[in-house]
């Protein structure tokens, strides 16, 4: 150290050192007095939760309304709301606090922290309800930005391509990862909020307390309950859109009507967002009193940690789990582990169940599905505690009808599904639109001009499930033109999407509903004409109701042309397709016979169970399929196809 510096900072020794000693001693004595005499708060009243003291509770108790598991006496405030529990100073205590703890952005510190729900919080980050991965990739596929509908994507992290911009400005609010900014009861217009989107339940008292807080700043003394009770109302908001399964389930179909047009009219329902629905027919499970969570499992909804592209891959249940043809595989209560066990402990309605049926698809336990003494399936409502006794499939389902091997239950038990045709989407750069993620105004708007909204039987098509072809129900995912506003390129797409319409009927559809129905065959609405010539040979032709589109020469609402085939981009799923020409012919061949031999049980056994054999013993009165439906012709086509 240089002498100049030393001189500058060090003065004469004796007095200064005496001064320092004086300051030290005075400061020490003053601090000690202050420390010992400072107003101590009553230590006994500093609550201890989860192994630590929590200052939050000193101010915020008493607070009622909690479920048992989330009682602040057990977990405090900080476990969910963060902030600083180790201070009594309001500003510091509230620093870093989160108002909506369920938001996925902070979930690893709140609901998903190591002491609470770490596994589920990890799973849900990767789940489809949080990411909308399938929605993003399908949209990008439709816009021609990627080559497959199975791609990466996250609705909260959208890029700048037209397809992602389209989602951001029109659709992206419906996903769990959307951050909810303020606490609110879950209603039809609620979006996002992570765990709280499904698990928060406001009592009347909690609603009133929230109102008072908003109006006058009164600290709420009634908290909404955070619990595993997920009601239909929680699902309704988001799932009343797109495939509209929530409204379908309750029997409502969206119309193009305006609210004032239905005033005083029964059988219509006005949603909070102004959309008008008309009553069609509810799902049988709804009629029987079942809620969404009575079928859907925690893994199917919140994910099992694996990455899935589409909802049908993530959902782990199937109709056959309850409506069984064969004995069910089960697991005992004592063999359950992890979250299944924890959920059972929370659901008192399920206390009486000792064995649990395993899902056929995932081989994992369905914690509300069990067997009675006779080995029959029993389903217990998770919220309601009601007992449901699912019916066994009818003989027509169990005894294989020729050609029906690939049919799913839904093929015959879906009387209607919402079908939107003719949509035009275009981009108007001069207008502004709301960012569905942040709520901010963005430049440029996507405008959708909708065509018909039909409630009609879905089309049947073929989809790959675990490498096996199954006949599944499809609706027009999009029959639309897109004008991205970038260049003069206009995109036309005719893609059907597989659907679980959630309009299940107890009674299966009549045979004619598929075998002589253009909609079911993917031809769109129209009429078949069966003409008989002089030698009793019949030819079948189809007259579509809607006009053909110039882009592909197919009727506006159709998926495929009559006795034609369609390849390339036909569906929003890889491997899905409409019936090909041979399949259409086979279906219609049966349809011709059905005109005289209706599909009752007697005819099912006599004719349709072994249809090729029946064709070999036609009576003289029978119409002989000719032309394109001639049996020999179909066989030739099949041989040509199978080398």
């Amino acid at each position: 150290m240089g002498p100049t510096v030393e001189k500058q900072v060090r003065g004469p020794e004796g007095f200064k050192e005496f001064l320092v000693a004086g300051i030290v001693i005075t400061a020490g004595i003053a601090s000690l007095i202050w420390f010992l005499k400072a107003p101590h708060r009553d230590v006994d009243n500093l609550p201890v939760v989860m192994g630590h003291r929590e200052g939050c509770l000193v101010c915020h108790l008493p607070m009622t309304g909690f479920s048992k598991a989330h009682d602040p006496a057990a977990i405090g405030c900080h476990s969910c709301h963060l902030g600083n529990p180790f201070t009594m100073e309001k500003g510091q205590a509230h620093e870093g606090m989160v108002i909506v703890p369920g938001n996925l952005k902070t979930i690893s510190s709140t609901c998903g922290n190591g002491d609470c729900h770490p596994q589920i919080s990890r799973n849900i980050q990767n789940s489809l309800m949080a990411t909308g991965r399938g929605m993003v990739s399908v949209n990008r596929y439709v816009f021609g930005e990627i080559d497959s509908p199975n791609g990466e994507g996250h609705l909260s992290r959208l890029g700048e391509t037209p397809a992602q911009d389209h989602l951001q400005k029109l659709c992206a609010s419906c996903h769990l990862a959307k951050t909810k900014q303020s606490p609110d009861p879950v209603g039809e217009r609620s979006r996002g909020g992570g765990c709280t989107a499904c698990h928060i339940n406001y009592s009347k008292g909690a609603k009133a307390a929230l109102e008072r807080y908003r109006e006058g700043g009164e600290i709420p003394k009634v908290h909404p309950a955070l619990m595993i009770k997920v009601t239909q109302g929680h699902c309704f908001g988001c799932h009343s859109r797109s495939g509209r399964i929530a409204t379908n389930y309750e029997g409502w179909h969206e119309t193009m009507l305006k609210p004032h047009e239905i005033k005083g009219q029964p059988n219509y329902r006005l949603l909070e967002d102004g959309r008008v629905f008309e009553r069609i027919s509810a799902d049988i499970h709804f009629d029987r009193g079942m809620e969404c969570v009575d079928c859907h499992t925690w893994r199917g909804l919140m994910g099992d940690g694996k990455k899935y592209y589409h909802e049908e891959d993530q959902v782990e249940i199937s109709c056959e789990d309850c409506h069984r043809l064969s004995p069910a595989q089960t697991i005992s209560r004592s063999a359950l582990t992890g979250i299944d066990l924890k959920l059972l402990a929370q659901r008192q309605a399920l206390d009486r169940l000792t064995r649990f049926v395993l899902s056929g698809k995932s081989s994992r336990p369905l914690i509300n599905v069990s067997l009675d003494r006779n080995g029959a399936i029993v389903v217990v409502g998770k919220n309601s505690g009601k007992t449901f006794l699912p019916k066994k499939p009818r003989p027509v389902c169990s005894s294989a009808i020729y050609g029906h091997e690939r049919l799913t239950c839904q093929s015959c038990h879906t009387p209607w599904a919402p079908s939107c045709i003719r949509c035009h989407t275009y981009y108007d750069a001069a207008k502004r639109a709301e960012d569905h993620i942040t709520g901010k105004a963005l430049k440029g708007r996507w405008i959708e001009e909708r065509g018909h909204l039909l409630a009609r039987q879905p089309a049947l098509g073929v989809r790959l499930e675990c490498g096996r072809e199954v006949v599944e129900t499809f609706i027009p995912g999009m029959i639309l033109t897109i004008d991205t506003g970038r260049g003069k390129h206009r995109i036309f797409r005719r893609l059907y999407a597989p659907t679980a319409a959630h309009t299940t009927s107890a009674k299966g559809l009549e045979c004619q509903a598929c075998h002589l129905n253009g909609v079911a065959l993917g031809l769109g609405e129209g009429l078949f004409s069966i003409k008989e010539d002089d030698v009793k040979q019949v030819t079948v032709s189809f007259h579509p109701l809607f006009q053909k589109r110039p882009e592909d020469g197919i009727a506006e609402d159709a998926w495929v042309g009559f006795l034609n085939e369609k390849e390339g981009m036909v569906s929003t799923r890889t491997g899905a397709r409409p019936f090909d020409a041979i399949e259409q012919r086979r279906v219609l061949l049966v349809g011709v016979c059905l005109t005289c031999h209706p599909g009752n049980e007697r005819n099912a056994k006599r004719i349709y169970k072994n249809f090729p054999q029946a064709l070999g013993r036609l009576s003289p009165r029978c119409l002989v399929p000719g032309g394109s439906l001639a049996v020999n012709r179909i066989k030739e086509m099949e041989q040509d196809r199978d080398p």
Binding site: M1, V5, E6, Q8, V9, R10, G11, K16, E17, L19, V20, A21, I23, V24, A27, G28, S31, L32, W34, F35, L36, A38, P39, H40, R41, D42, V43, L46, M50, G51, H52, R53, G55, V58, I75, H78, S79, L82, N84, P85, F86, T87, M88, Q92, G96, K105, T106, S108, S109, T110, G112, N113, G114, D115, C116, P118
Partner: protein, 305 residues
Amino acid sequence: MKTLSEQFASHMRRFFELWSRVLPMPGFLISACMFVAAGSGILLAFAYDINRPFDSLQVLILSNPAGTFLRGIHYWSAQFFFVLVVIHLIDQLSKDGERELSAGQWARLSTMVPVTLFLMISGYLLKGDRSAILARQVIEGLLGTLPMGDTFRFLVLGSGEGLQFVYSHHISTATLIVFMLILEHSRGRWPEWLSFIWILGISMLISALKMPGLSHEGAGTLIKGPWFFLGLQQLLHWISEPLWLVVGGAICFGMLCSIPLIPAPSPKYVKVALAVCLVLYMGLCLTTYAFRGPDWEWALPWKSR
């Protein structure tokens, strides 16, 4: 043409000239820091209960604002102490200050670095909260990699999970060593009065603005150690054999102690090597502080909590 190390030394000298116009020199401030930290520590000891360390601190900060303030002064003066020791070392090395001391004196003073580090870490462990428990596990693991690791572990941390040994070392062993080294180096002088006022004033000011926190069991998946520990935390995340880190630290310390013994011009290279290690380590601490998010994943600070 000046070499890089000469340029660095020149910049350092310029920096400390500017420093001296505003603040007392680091050596005086270090001495003041030690007195402030020790004084506030004595007062805190009245409230600290070795049998329930975490709870006694919680009770202190929730029930006694004065105690909370004192704890802040203790914490911040200790942080300044550590930073100033490093700065003083850089200052001395940049102007070849080691030449003014005997090799033995230099070696004893170099011991100040690990002892100060121990004081800081032991203070952190004495919180007894979740992050302290995890930090203790890390230190136990590191000591365990040494030959006779169990003996070292016992001597430093004691047996079981109790904090008696750590507390004893913190308030007596390490503190005494530091005091002795300071007294030897300052030739028995008391802290310079201006330095004392600077340190006490700044510690009080920052304590009023930002209190040192505690973390508990439900504190989420992101537990970061004290700021000077973060580089080590990150290296432990990358390196499968912790012994290398202990060896690396020992080599750096050995290099520092032996500088006066190394014939010219090699000390220059040793200093450059130490400076590079310090810069890299601090860079790692900073990166880890800013960019490690929940589950120790990389995350942008403005996108993660």
